[in-house]
């Protein structure tokens, strides 16, 4: 598959700058590590947040961090898409007989995020052992669904952000609110926020699907609706479909900036 070839190329080129790469991986590890330390210290001080315990929030945090780290690794090309439009490189993409999505996806790859990923998976493991709930196969599957749901939703947002570049040439900083801001928001169960934030991130951008809804099932707060809450992550994945649709529309409307 063409994407694997792209990936191989990127890893080879990155490993040419080894010292810098290791520093970046370490740096990414510590960003996530300190963010988690911050949450730990806050629970040390306050005990709980709106009825959620530290273990539950830690799980929430770990899921969103894992999903975001993986998304950033692979969907970096969409994040950096404005460069492609400004340089006129997208014209070349259009000339090739492959889908635009997979080419842009393959245009960049951020290996340094494995540092963050390592920390997230470690936290995930810690949080899973802290939770006072018995782990069953259904719960483990739900957890995996949650991570994939997160990856799909964040990739969808990155695609939307890139699509904006077709019309504005420059990327809009506002999209960061939904990517990096989204990662920050979804680190806590959405129920702690104001109603309008919770509604927005349930019905417009479905963060709730990998956040508090399946979490309620995992910690046994679902109150009989187990199957429903278990399946919410799958619903969340559908978010990527309209994003791809909008991207196709954007490609059709694209006018080159020339070069």
């Amino acid at each position: 598959m063409i994407y694997i070839k792209y990936l191989n190329m990127h890893i080879k080129s990155l490993s040419q700058y080894r010292a810098s790469l290791w520093m970046m991986i370490a740096g990414q590890f510590f960003i996530s590590f300190f963010a988690f330390a911050g949450i730990y210290l806050l629970f040390e001080r306050f005990g709980s947040i709106d009825g959620w315990t530290f273990g539950e929030v830690a799980l929430c945090f770990a899921v969103v961090q894992t999903a975001f780290a993986i998304t950033e690794c692979f969907a970096r090309g969409f994040d950096m898409f404005q460069r492609m439009i400004i340089n006129g490189d997208f014209d070349r993409v259009l000339l090739r007989p492959r889908s635009t999505l997979s080419q842009v996806l393959g245009s960049d790859f951020e290996l340094s995020r494995v540092g963050r990923l390592a920390q997230s998976i470690f936290t995930l493991w810690l949080a899973a052992s802290w939770l006072e709930t018995s782990w069953s196969v259904a719960k483990i599957i739900t957890l995996i669904f949650m991570i994939f749901s997160g990856i799909f939703i964040f990739t969808g947002i990155f695609i939307l952000g890139a699509t904006v570049c077709f019309f504005t040439v420059q990327g809009l900083e506002i999209i960061n609110i939904f990517t990096y801001g989204g990662r920050e928001i979804a680190a806590y169960p959405l129920t702690i926020y104001s109603k309008w934030i919770m509604r927005f991130f349930t019905f417009i951008i479905p963060f709730a699907c990998f956040n508090y809804m399946p979490l309620m099932f995992l910690v046994g707060k679902a109150g009989g609706n187990d199957a429903l809450y278990m399946l919410t992550p799958l619903l969340g994945m559908l978010f990527i479909l309209p994003c791809i649709f909008v991207w196709r529309f954007g490609v059709r409307r694209y006018l080159s900036t020339g070069n």
Binding site: A19, F30, A35, E173
Partner: protein, 267 residues
Amino acid sequence: MKPYIALFRMRMIAGMQYRAAAWAGAATQFFWGLIFIMIYSAFYRSSAVEPPMRWNQLATYIWLQQMFLFIVMIWAQDNELLRHVTDGNVAYELCRPYDLFKIWCARLLAFRLSSSFLRFLPILIIAFLLPAQYKMSPPVSLGAAGLFLISLSLGLLIVTAVSMFIYILTIITLSPVGSRLIISVAADFLMGAVIPIPLMPASLQRVLDWFPFRYISDLPFRIYSGSIAGGDALFQMGVQVAWIIGLFMLGRLSFNKVMRRVVIQGG
């Protein structure tokens, strides 16, 4: 001194040109502040014990952090300057009959000030107009406001001195990404940008007192809200001055050392 002041003014004017970017930045930072406030407000709602910061002090701390983000954050760096090192343009700078260390200081100061000038006012106005739950409070007294401004300026000098080390490291490693990331990640936590320092356990706070980072933002913000005042505030501002002198001297020494061995590759 004259050429450096002229350069500073030039970079200030240049930095103030990016108004649209500044508006977008202010909007993003405002949103960011709002999210933090909601998280802390949920923590305060569920707290069994009295937190060490009053709610309005905490809200003010967060808004000040967002308002002066470009003054206090280590990760905010002049990318053009970092590129000068990697693409070799630093060679031209070295040919000029000026002191490169001072040139960089002037540019860094101008970058931080001009970026903040454009952003802080909209956030300030909106933060004061918010409903009581999210609102920012005025400084406790006129004296506190004065001390806050002095101490924030001293903090700006500390951040500039620390930034010089990122540039010096970039000259050695030739890639700005790694050194910048490591220094700013550590600094973020140590200066109270991840969670406000007064909310940390007392033992950790005592450790942070020994690092320069707390004196960049935590001190001025707490002087503003009155949790550090009087003789204590003056003493800690003395510590700020000591750090500025120490860091700039150390920066100068390492800069001279690195510059003696600098190799320009190709052209």
